[in-house]
Structure formats: C-alpha cells, structure tokens
Symmetry: C2
Subunit: 335 residues, 2 copies
C-alpha cells in the first residue's frame, strides 16, 4: 500500500506537496507537479477516501434511501429508472452512491445514524412515509436531503406534474367523446395518488363533466394489479358503468384491463383505459396502454442536481415539478 509519504520520499518532496498536487492547489510549480504525478503513477498510488473523509468531513458519498411500500425495493420499475438517472448525474459530479439501510453491523439503527456513521454528504429518498419518525429525524437534521414524489417545506423535492398529467388523461378521453369517465385511484395515502385524484376531479370540473362519487374506485396505495382488477369490477357492477377509466398507475390499469376481459368484454371496444407512469410493460401488453409518461431521466437528474447544489453551495429547498406527457397507444376508442 502506497501512501503520500512513499511518494514524497521517492520524489524528494514533502508529503504536503504531494497532497497539494492531488488536490489541484495552484501553488505548486509545474516541474514539481510533474515529478510527483510521475512517481505516483510509477508506484501505483491511489488516494484513500477514508483518510480524506476523516479530516475533511466530506465523503463524496450520497445515501440512497429506498423506502417504498411495495416491497419491491430496487426492482420497482419506476424508482429504479429514476435512480439510474440520479446515479449517472451524481457520478459525473464526483459522488458515489451508497444504500442506507436501517442496520449497522447487522444491528437496527435509524437512517440518520446510518448516514452519520457513513458520513454521507447528502441523501436522496424515494416515496416514503414522511410520518415515520425515522425519516422526520433525518429531514430535521443538518444533512441535505432531496425527496422524490413528495412536497415538503423542510427539504428539496422532485416530482412529476401529477395534476397536469391527470388533466391530460381526462381531457384526452373527453376529446374522444367520453363523458362517463371513472377514476381508479392510488388511494389518499400516497402522495402521487392524492395528487392524481385531485387532477382528475379538477379536470371533470374544468370540462364541465358531472362529478359522480361512484366513479372513484380506490385501488391499493401499492398500485397493484389485483387492486386495479377489483376496482374495475366495482365500476362494472354499477347500474350505469363508465365508458372510460383513468387509472392512477399502469399496474392498476393493467389489472383493470384484465377485469374487463374476464367479463367477456374488450378494451378499447367496451371500455377505454388510460394509465399513469408508462412502465416498460405498457407498450407490450395487448392492447398497448395509453398512459401518462413520467420523465424518469429528468426526475433523477434534477434530484441529483438539487441535492448536490444544496451540499456544495447553499441548502436551497427547491421543489421541482417535472412535466409529463400523454403517450397515446391503443387502449382508448372514440365513441
């Protein structure tokens, strides 16, 4: 293991000078710099982040809190896409990513303690229960945080324009001639679910469509296919069923589609369906799902930018809303 002392000795300079070279200090002569760099590469030197972190209190590490509620963790298609983009942006700015669990050495701790233990410079957290004491503690700490799919006055946040997305979905169905438009919601417990339902209601209002409580069927806040299936059945059992459904998530929509088929009906002939997310699967099912696409690349990179900005410059509590787009496929029909 080669240290700056080895290089210093070999190059005939002091450890301080070696350190300065590796930290791009300007007060080192070009000649000395070259000599140091040469011997360093000759000896196979590489810096040690632990030693550096110990003294500078900067780890160049970002913590990733994957606290979603489906139990899918990193397999979750939406969050993994956002994380991939976050990761690329963070890496290009010199940061590495580390998952923050609730364990240290196999023993249970809080997220905050884990962050301090690892000296992370900042934290990105996805779809969490802000109620959980564990997280509140983190938000209230001095560690810069950015949250996905949330709005908070205490931390930076990034989320899709859920309301506008819902509006686009409903408006599209309306433009196709539908007036009995139902909603399969993600429940009021999830941030996105609440927003999307609100967007649905606002859209009805704006388009002067009657509001009908029966036309809002609650899916699970986990956005599961099964709950979409159940919700659709509930809607189909109505005396006057809707002709179109806007589901708060693609999985809900896919479950709903299945329910329609299982009644011997077909999509889009007997029922038009629009989803939200544009998960990969949506383009491949039959009929291909018309849905509101979330811009995962933008969500991830904006989150990284905000977080790094509040680490390096000043802790701005930005709340970014990323635009969404309706992707028209084959699950809707004009009537």
């Amino acid at each position: 293991l080669i240290t700056i002392y080895d290089i210093a000795r070999e190059a005939g300079v002091s450890p301080t000078t070696v350190s300065k070279v590796f930290n791009d200090y300007s007060d080192v002569s070009a000649k000395t710099r070259k000599k140091v760099l040469d011997t360093a590469s000759k000896m196979g030197y590489f810096p040690n982040s632990s030693a550096r972190t110990l003294i500078t209190k900067r780890s160049w590490t970002l913590g990733v809190l994957f606290m979603e509620r489906t139990g899918k963790g990193i397999r979750h298609p939406f969050f993994s896409a956002v994380l991939e983009s976050f990761k690329n942006t963070a890496e290009s700015k010199g940061y590495d990513l580390m998952f923050i669990s609730q364990f240290i050495g196999g023993k249970k701790t809080s997220y905050l303690e884990h962050c301090r233990f690892r000296n992370v410079d900042g934290v990105v957290a996805v779809l969490l229960d802000l109620e959980q004491a564990n997280v509140t503690e983190l938000v209230n700490s001095d560690i810069p945080c950015v949250f996905l799919d949330y709005e908070s006055a205490q931390a930076g946040t990034v989320c899709s324009d859920n309301i506008n997305g819902s509006f686009q979905a409903v408006q599209y169905l309306h433009s196709l001639g539908h007036s009995r438009i139902a909603h399969i919601s993600g429940g009021q417990n999830s941030f996105a679910g609440a927003k999307r339902q609100l967007g649905y209601e606002l859209a009805l209002q704006k388009l002067k469509l009657p509001k009908n409580e029966d036309y809002i069927a609650a899916g699970s806040c986990f956005y599961t296919e099964e709950s979409g299936y159940r919700a659709m059945n509930q809607l189909l059992d109505l005396d006057v069923p809707p002709t179109a459904v806007f589901a708060a998530g693609d999985n809900l929509a896919i479950g709903a589609m299945q329910a329609v088929k299982d009644r011997g009906l077909s999509v889009p002939e007997h029922m038009s369906i629009v989803g939200f997310d544009d998960i990969e699967m949506s383009a491949f099912i039959t009929p291909a799902l018309t849905t509101v696409r979330q811009d995962t690349a933008a969500l991830g990179s904006r989150a990284a930018e905000i977080l790094i900005h509040s680490i390096e410059t000043v802790c701005t509590l930005e709340n970014v809303v990323v635009p969404v787009d309706l992707v028209v496929r084959n699950s809707c029909k004009a009537i």
Copy 2:
C-alpha cells in the same frame, strides 16, 4: 460531534474502554459497559466508519459493479431483482452496498482503483465482458470478487442452470408433440447465451431430434425485442418453418411473438414459444409466456454469501449453479 474521548471523559474511563465496549470485547465489566453505553446514548454518540476503516482496513462496504451491456443499468429487470436480494443478504450481515463507477471525482479511473479508493471489502459484478482489461485487473487483484452469470477459475461465480433450463424448455415442447423446434439465441458473446444454445443443442441430441443449422437464429446479445422480432422473421421465411421456438430470453420471445402476430398468424395456434428469465411482463402479455424462471432471490443471496465468506473466512472460489424451473403459461400448444 461526539467522539469516544468525550464519552471516556464523561463516563470516567479511558477511550480504549469505550472502544472495547463498542466492539463487543469480553474483557469489560458489565458495570463499566453499562456506564459507557448509557453516557454514549445520552450524549448522542455514533461511531465514525471512516476512522474505523482507516485503521482496521475493513470498510464493511461491498462494491457493486453494474456492467451490463443493454445500457439499462439498474433498470434491468433481471439484474435489479438479483441485486435486491443481494442487498438484503449483505445488509443482514452488516455490509452496505456502494456502486463502483469508473470515475473518481469526475475523473476516469479503473474499477480496481475505485475499489481501493473506497476500501471496499469485496465486489459483486454482473454480466460483464471479462475481456475488458479493466475487469481482468480487478479479478487478478487481491479484492474478493463474485460474478454473476459467469464461470471463472479466478473468482467466485453464481449463475442459473442455463443448460438444464434450456433442456426443460425443449423437452416440454417435445412432449407437446413438436419436432421442428428452433432456437433464437442470445448470441455466442454472452455467457448465458452460449450456455442456453448449448443446452438447446444437447436437448435435441438427447431427444433424438434432428439438428438443423437453419433453426438457430441469432438474436442480439442485448436480448432486445427487436432482435427477437428479426430472428423470428428469419425463421418464418424458411421453406419448412419450425412449429415451436425456444428463445434465450423473454424479451427475445416477446419480439418473436410480435413477429408471428404481424404475419397474421397467432401464438400458440401457429407457433409455440418458450422464453427464458420470467421477467414480470411475461405473465401479463397475451398470450402469457411460458418460460424458464430464474431464481433471482437465490442468485442474489448465494452471491452475497459466497462473497462474504471469502472476505471473512477464506477466499474460496466457489462456482454456484442455481436451479431453474419451467413456468407453463399459454404460449405453447400440443400438436
């Protein structure tokens, strides 16, 4: 920021004693231990991993090298599932996960340097080009490694039983009465692709089915839908087309299915198709895809176990093969 010195002073003991308490040394009296623990929690103490790593040379961090070739990174449904399982096992044993990029401070380096920089105790790498100099260097280093979807004498590996899986697929089609069974391969450049093709060929041999070079159509080593689509068209253009196809990946199979449909034919009436992987989508497309399921949970946890074992005990170069199962759905028909 509270250090062990603060606690030592407050509790009236030496820093060593405090350290011993936190490292579960047995030679501390119960009374002293309690006093230390109490003052520590009262003062809000937490250990500092950098300081600890600096002296022990153990970071309790595992590096994750996500070097797959589809460009999907962590979004890749198969690898993200394996990683999720790996992560859970690793965390339960006290390790945290960090992504290893080819950058330090935004500047390009090698994976090995990055690992040393971060003092990772071991590395898990997925689906990589072993040829890449960057990786060879890492494999040949003293850092314990485990590879997914690979076989190597130089490092621990974990992969599915590709050959047996292919055999099950072909045998199933054969049991349905098919004898003109084609293969859409993942190419010879990918480890899994080569194995699955070999399994296909071995199966034909064992079942005394004639081998026909035309019945092997190469898909992309990225296992894309488009390449499956193209390969299927190639097979359909044959004078005597196959009646069944075993595709080396679900995405290839899905592309193949589309090609059949686009010719006005249908699956499974005119063509039986079996895939490999069992990605989430496979259960939801129409017809639901019969496929060979990889046990991602086992792959991930076995990889973690092997890696941690070679870190903590001795560097065994285990090569684990995880069994697979055929999941029968609706994409095949008896003839």
